[in-house]
């Protein structure tokens, strides 16, 4: 494993390529997600949050790269490991936290919980709990953009486990045949629950699957916002020029268990430590300071701001009302007088 780690052992020492604003945006995005997720785990432990909780800790550089490489108007759809992506698209941490708490003020009024965030305003199409289901859905969102003649694309994200669903084959084939504006991103965090990528296929390099359709496909270092940004920018340009879909396998790592109840016995502590040693937040902070991109005071100000923001999000969630169970019949049909069966 860990080709990524070897390749980038010098990471942090490379000279900074981007401007101050970009680095600080990446840093702030990643820190916001990290602190949000740490808080959500803590609140889950206190039983304020229930159900499944799949956190994004370790994978934040992907969300950061998305912020700088993709237009705000581009659509995005992903799986249940979605808090970080939702936050990076601009959904407020308040509404996200309130959703985890199952409150009326949550992004979907407490109806979706951790796995199902949606926001038309942010072009965030969910939050899917069925592994791989969003691959054709993202393809369809892209289909609609092409149909309407826009230059927008749909970022369609899925895990390494999801990459083995048949839905991927069908979607890739149609997207390539019809040259749909879809940016497929496999977030390869090396495990689907307890199953390592190597155990799910003869082809461990997931990006190679795209070549069966002649779809341009690459592997990307997902522990660095720079490399994510560069790959995404390249892919987006290709897609917007009308040449059809693009596939990026972004190699990353989840530091925590699959969901809250996973003991994680299928992997070694050393493997985890290796990735934590190239933690994108730490590395970016170091780069910012050592490259004199910003001062220690500026970094501290960001940290303080995020800390306050996450605390406010919790306060907001805690002070919000729970929905009324009697509203069960709301939002099941658009038809207002639908005759329910009793």
């Amino acid at each position: 494993m860990t080709k990524v780690v070897e390749k980038v052992s010098k990471r942090g020492k490379k000279t900074p390529k981007y401007n101050k604003e970009t680095y600080l945006t990446w840093y702030e995005t990643m820190l916001r997600i990290r602190r949000f997720e740490e808080k959500s785990l803590q609140k889950y432990g206190q039983e304020q949050i229930r159900g499944f909780l799949h956190v994004y800790i370790g994978q934040e550089a992907i969300a950061a790269g998305l912020v700088s490489a993709i237009k705000k108007e581009d659509a995005i759809v992903t799986a249940y490991r979605q808090h970080g992506l939702a936050i990076s698209r601009g959904i407020s941490t308040k509404k996200c936290m309130a959703e985890l708490y199952g409150k009326k003020t949550g992004i979907v009024k407490g109806k979706g919980g951790s796995m199902h965030f949606f926001s038309k305003e942010h072009r965030f199409f969910g939050g899917n709990g069925i592994v791989g289901a969003q691959i054709p859905i993202g393809t369809g969102i892209g289909f609609a953009e092409k149909y309407r003649g826009t230059d927008l694309l749909c970022v369609t994200m899925f895990g390494d486990g999801a990459a083995r669903q048949g839905a991927l084959y069908e979607s890739f084939n149609m997207a390539m045949t019809w040259k749909l504006p879809v940016l497929y991103i496999c977030e390869n965090n090396h495990y689907a629950m307890g199953t390592s990528v190597e155990r799910t296929s003869n082809v461990a390099d997931i990006y190679k699957v795209g070549s069966a359709f002649d779809m341009p496909s690459e592997a990307v270092d997902g522990m660095s916002p720079e490399s994510v940004h560069e790959a995404l920018s390249r892919a987006a340009e290709h897609i917007r020029s009308g040449k059809g879909p693009y596939f990026l396998e972004i190699k990353t790592y989840r530091y925590k268990g699959h969901s809250v109840s996973d003991p994680g016995t299928y992997r070694t502590k050393d493997e985890l430590k290796e990735y934590q040693s190239i933690d994108p937040i730490k590395v970016t902070e170091k780069k910012i300071l050592e490259g004199n991109i910003a001062t220690a005071e500026e970094i501290k100000a960001i940290k303080d701001k995020i800390k306050a923001e996450i605390n406010e999000a919790v306060e907001f969630a805690e002070n919000s009302d729970f929905p009324d169970g009697d509203n069960l019949f709301e939002d099941n049909y658009m038809q207002e007088d639908y005759p329910y069966t009793s």
Binding site: G51, K111, G112, M193, Y266, L328, S342
Partner: protein
């Protein structure tokens, strides 16, 4: 002799005994081998049987269900585990269009002795996609048999019968009640498919249910007893074929019936039972059949929705009192 076993251990014991007995039986599914099962139902089975017979699959429900069907047509007796039945929806093509139809479309040339199993039903605040029951969906399809049971002893006896059965079987368990304990007899025994069990005898009203709603029905019956109402409680255990005889015999005695069913009301198991009652016991009824279901909606995340959605003892007691005109 018997011992107390948890549901997950009872199901495992049933599978293990059948795998020792017949080399053609194997277990396949997501996380069943090295992870010891997402809900630890298959814990230790890889150690005993090895990777030839306890097979981890990628997340590819349609594919591995179809591999099960093909293997069954070619002489093996697969047990295909779905992490939950919600995910088996991806495999419905193979279950409905192939497993269920192989015997008919091959004019008896091929049969499909396969067991598809996993948990069904809501399990707390898991939201819309992870909270569904599938008994009614599958029971609608000719060619399949459907089992749904959380009693540890019967679950063991039923999985053993299912593995030996020559028809395709869908078995529903319960994520929330894999730790539920019960007396399980030692040694070899089979629970017949297609037979309901009278769990509690009574004279005033029949309550019929299955899977984890049996706990709700039993709880309601306990509370009703304190109020002097004697409820007979029937556990269907098998959904298809439906043992309407046991239900009808009970109704002939009690003249009133309440169906407690977690599945949705429209075209659900409760609708089928109600039809059978009016067909076979119309003249014995002193009140219309009343059912307690999940409401006709998707289940959202927040606790208040789960509370409002799930059948509970209070709803059952109210239903019983309504059929008793109390």
């Amino acid at each position: 002799m018997s011992r107390v076993l948890a549901l997950r251990d009872a199901i495992r014991e049933g599978m293990t005994e059948e795998m020792r007995r017949d080399d053609n039986v194997f277990l396949m599914g997501e996380e069943v081998a090295e992870y010891n099962g997402a809900y630890k139902v298959s814990k230790g089975m890889l150690d005993e049987f090895g990777a030839r017979r306890v097979v981890d699959t990628p997340i590819a429900e349609l594919g591995f269900a179809g591999i099960g069907v093909g293997a069954a047509m070619n002489g093996l007796r697969p047990i295909v585990e779905f992490m939950t039945w919600n995910f088996a929806v991806l495999a419905f093509d193979q279950i409905i269009n192939n497993a269920a139809k192989t015997l008919s479309q091959s004019a008896g040339e091929f049969n499909c002795p396969i067991v598809f199993r996993g948990p069904s039903g809501a399990a707390g605040q898991l939201a819309q996609q992870h909270s569904q029951t599938f008994e009614a969906w599958l029971a609608n399809c000719p060619g399949l048999k459907v089992i749904s049971c959380i009693d540890p002893a019967d679950a063991k006896g039923l999985i053993k019968s299912a593995i030996r059965d020559n028809d395709p079987i869908c078995m529903m368990e319960s994520e929330q009640f894999y730790a539920l304990e019960g007396e399980v007899p030692d040694g070899e025994y089979l629970t017949p498919i297609g037979k309901a069990a009278v769990r509690r005898e009574g004279t005033d009203v029949t309550i019929v249910s299955y899977n984890k709603m049996m706990l709700v029905a039993n709880d309601a019956a306990d509370q009703l007893a304190k109020e002097g109402i004697s409820a007979e409680v029937i556990d269907l255990r098998t959904i298809r074929p439906l043992d309407h005889e046991t239900i009808v015999n009970s109704v002939k005695k009690t003249n009133r019936i309440v169906v407690v069913d977690e599945s949705w009301p429209y075209a659900g198991i409760s609708s089928e039972i109600t039809y059978q009652i009016q067909k076979y016991a119309f003249d014995y009824l002193d009140a219309p059949v009343v059912r307690v279901n999940a409401p006709d909606v998707s289940l959202p995340y927040a606790a208040a929705y789960v509370e409002a959605y799930m059948p509970n003892p209070k709803k059952v007691i109210d239903a019983v009192k309504s059929v008793m005109y109390r």
